[in-house]
């Protein structure tokens, strides 16, 4: 589903990604771990198409297509979803109606019929339960006045509504207390399916106690230096990243 080869990316002349290789198949959950500044968020942003990154080398294929050639909105319509580390507050724009516009744009792109207001609100009701998000919150302006935990739930709620094929979750666990983390993780787990791939970007192993990944990668200084199963995450938690730094410096 996702084939990243030799990806190099820089921001304002500073090289962040220095040759990332990653292959994700449908149904798989991959965790990307790494210390601050290793390039985790950059990788997530580059997949979603955030402007401001220069791709200096490498390729990203998504369902066999050149993902890097697509606009962010086209990527979304093709089924890519990014749960933001820092969801943006947008005063004056209704969360639920913006989501309806987004969903119908995606459905139209997929050749599906658009949902009317009734069907959409039924869907909202169903998915709001999934992440235990208050329906009144859903109707407020996008993320405005939401607590940190509410913002993260809102991301997963949006993901549930938009039904992506490839979901990239950028530090969805950061800033969550254990109760909120359980709720968010349960929501994500319910969204796991054989057709959907997920990439979890995280700093801590804690999230992976709740969302068990198929593959764990360690990103250090812009490269994936080690991959393994969920035991690798535990090892990282116990030993830190230092023992991996030598190969990264090669």
């Amino acid at each position: 589903m996702l084939e990243i080869k030799g990806l190099h990316a820089s921001v304002k002349g500073q090289q962040i990604l220095k040759g990332v290789d990653l292959s994700v198949k449908p149904g798989e959950v991959h965790a990307i771990m790494g210390p601050n500044g290793s390039g985790k968020s950059t990788l997530a942003h580059v997949i979603a198409g955030r402007p401001g990154y220069d791709i200096t080398a490498g390729s990203v294929l998504y369902k066999g297509q050149d993902l890097l050639a697509m606009t962010p909105e086209l990527r979304a319509r093709e089924g890519v979803f990014l749960a933001f580390q820092y969801p943006v507050e947008i005063p004056g724009v209704s969360n639920v109606y913006f989501l309806k516009a987004a969903l119908n744009a995606i459905r139209k792109h997929r050749g599906q019929s658009e949902l009317d207001a009734m069907d959409f609100l039924a869907l909202v009701k169903e998915k709001a339960k999934l992440v235990d998000i208050d329906e009144s919150l859903v109707k407020r302006p996008v993320n405005e006045g939401f607590s940190g935990g509410e913002k993260k739930r809102n991301e997963i709620f949006q993901m549930a509504i938009l039904d992506p094929q490839l979901a990239v979750l950028d530090e969805t666990d950061s800033g969550l207390d254990i109760d909120a983390l359980r709720v968010v993780a349960a929501g994500v787990n319910q969204l796991r399916s054989p057709e959907r791939a997920m990439v979890l970007v995280t700093h801590y192993q804690r999230l992976l106690d709740y969302i068990v990944p198929d593959v764990v990668h360690v990103l250090l200084d812009g490269r994936i230096v080690k991959s393994g199963d969920k035991e690798l995450a535990r090892e990282l938690e116990a030993r830190g990243y230092e023992w991996l730094e030598a190969p990264a410096a090669r």
């Binding site: 198409g49 962010p72 943006v88 724009v93 209704s94 109606y97 119908n104 744009a105 302006p141 949006q158």
Partner: protein
Amino acid sequence: MTPVAEKTELYRGEFEAFSASRRASEPAWLRRSREEAIARFQERGFPTTAEEDWRFTNVAPLARTAFRRSGPGEAAGVRAADVAALGFDHAFDGHEIVFVDGRLAPALSSIGPAGGLQICSLADVLSREPERIAGDLGRLLGGAKHSPSFADLNAAFLEDGACVFIPAGLVVEQPIHLVYLSSRAAGTPTLSHPRTLVLAGRNSQARVVESYGGVPGAVYFTNAVTEIALEAGAVVDHYKIQRESEAAFHVGLMAVVQGRASRFTSHSFSLGGGLVRNDVRQLFAAEGGECVLDGLFVASGAQHTDTHTVIDHAHPHCTSRELYKGILDGKARGVFVGRILVRAGASKTDAHQTNKNLLLSREALVDSVPQLEILASDVKCKHGSTTGQLDPAALFYLRSRGITEAAARSLLVCAFAGEVVGRVGVPALRRGLERNLRERLPGIRDREIQEAVL
């Protein structure tokens, strides 16, 4: 003499002919007021950018243009369909009085008496019962020393406009719509000096909408003066919708004086015009008043739109809230100068002023100058001004959910404007403004995107 100053000679010459024709029929006070006004105008001339109040706005293009006032009867050919074509749909029920090129168009107006409310043409009042407004006309402009040049020009050539008399205790349910249109698309640029006088009696309540518009592309000059006096306990909700032709000049002064515990709300939408200057001069003349000044100016292309407001806390226990927003695109230029004066003794004043501007292009420019002058103690005053571009993080967030870039931009612009538009208390007017804004924005035609704006 500068070329701009020479131009005042033309107005002087025209004034001689104009006032000679009216001399016989006018009361002495009005004649004197005209003569003093033209004398002041001639002495001071058009303002120049050397004057503090005009340093951001150069009126030389206006001063250079030879305008002509339309003669009586020239507007007779304008029909309701022409008015509708200017985009002023008559969707909201209410009292409506229409002026074309500065003169009453009776056929287009529906101003039957309603429970003591009187909406009259100023020309009518001046010819039938001039004494009725002798004490009020010009009273709110702050005396000869403070009257701006353009207001003097308006006073010198004053002929017609709307007089709204709201008797004490009357609550006017239907909005009162004052429509000022300029008709000519070609030929000599025309000039009108519309004058509006609103007298709201004790504990009365009304909504007054002033709309200005003209034939697209037409060059003309609207030099409007509005005076609104609120007696004790009166509540007036005022709207100014400026949608002049993009080649037109619009200079408008609104002077408001508030009596004890009165409440005045202004919603100013400055959307059209090539060179636009709006002045709002408000005064709390007694304790306990409340004033809200909301405004939105939208300019693109080469439009220049300048707003100056003054809120004068001359008495204690008054509250003012001001929110002006600007959206500038292309090479447009916007100006917001908001002065809040808290005079000595005006304790317990509570004043907030906010100006937020959105620049949609590299070449658009805005000058924002908040001015707080506090001469009293025990007051709460704050102001804030921000100018910026669309938030790239918000744009990316929307796009990452499948919304196109054009729609995302328009959505954010509409949401920015929505804070002001959303406070319009005449639903049909609000919808009309929303429609008008959407028409100027790409990618917002999609009904679903429209729904997303609160």
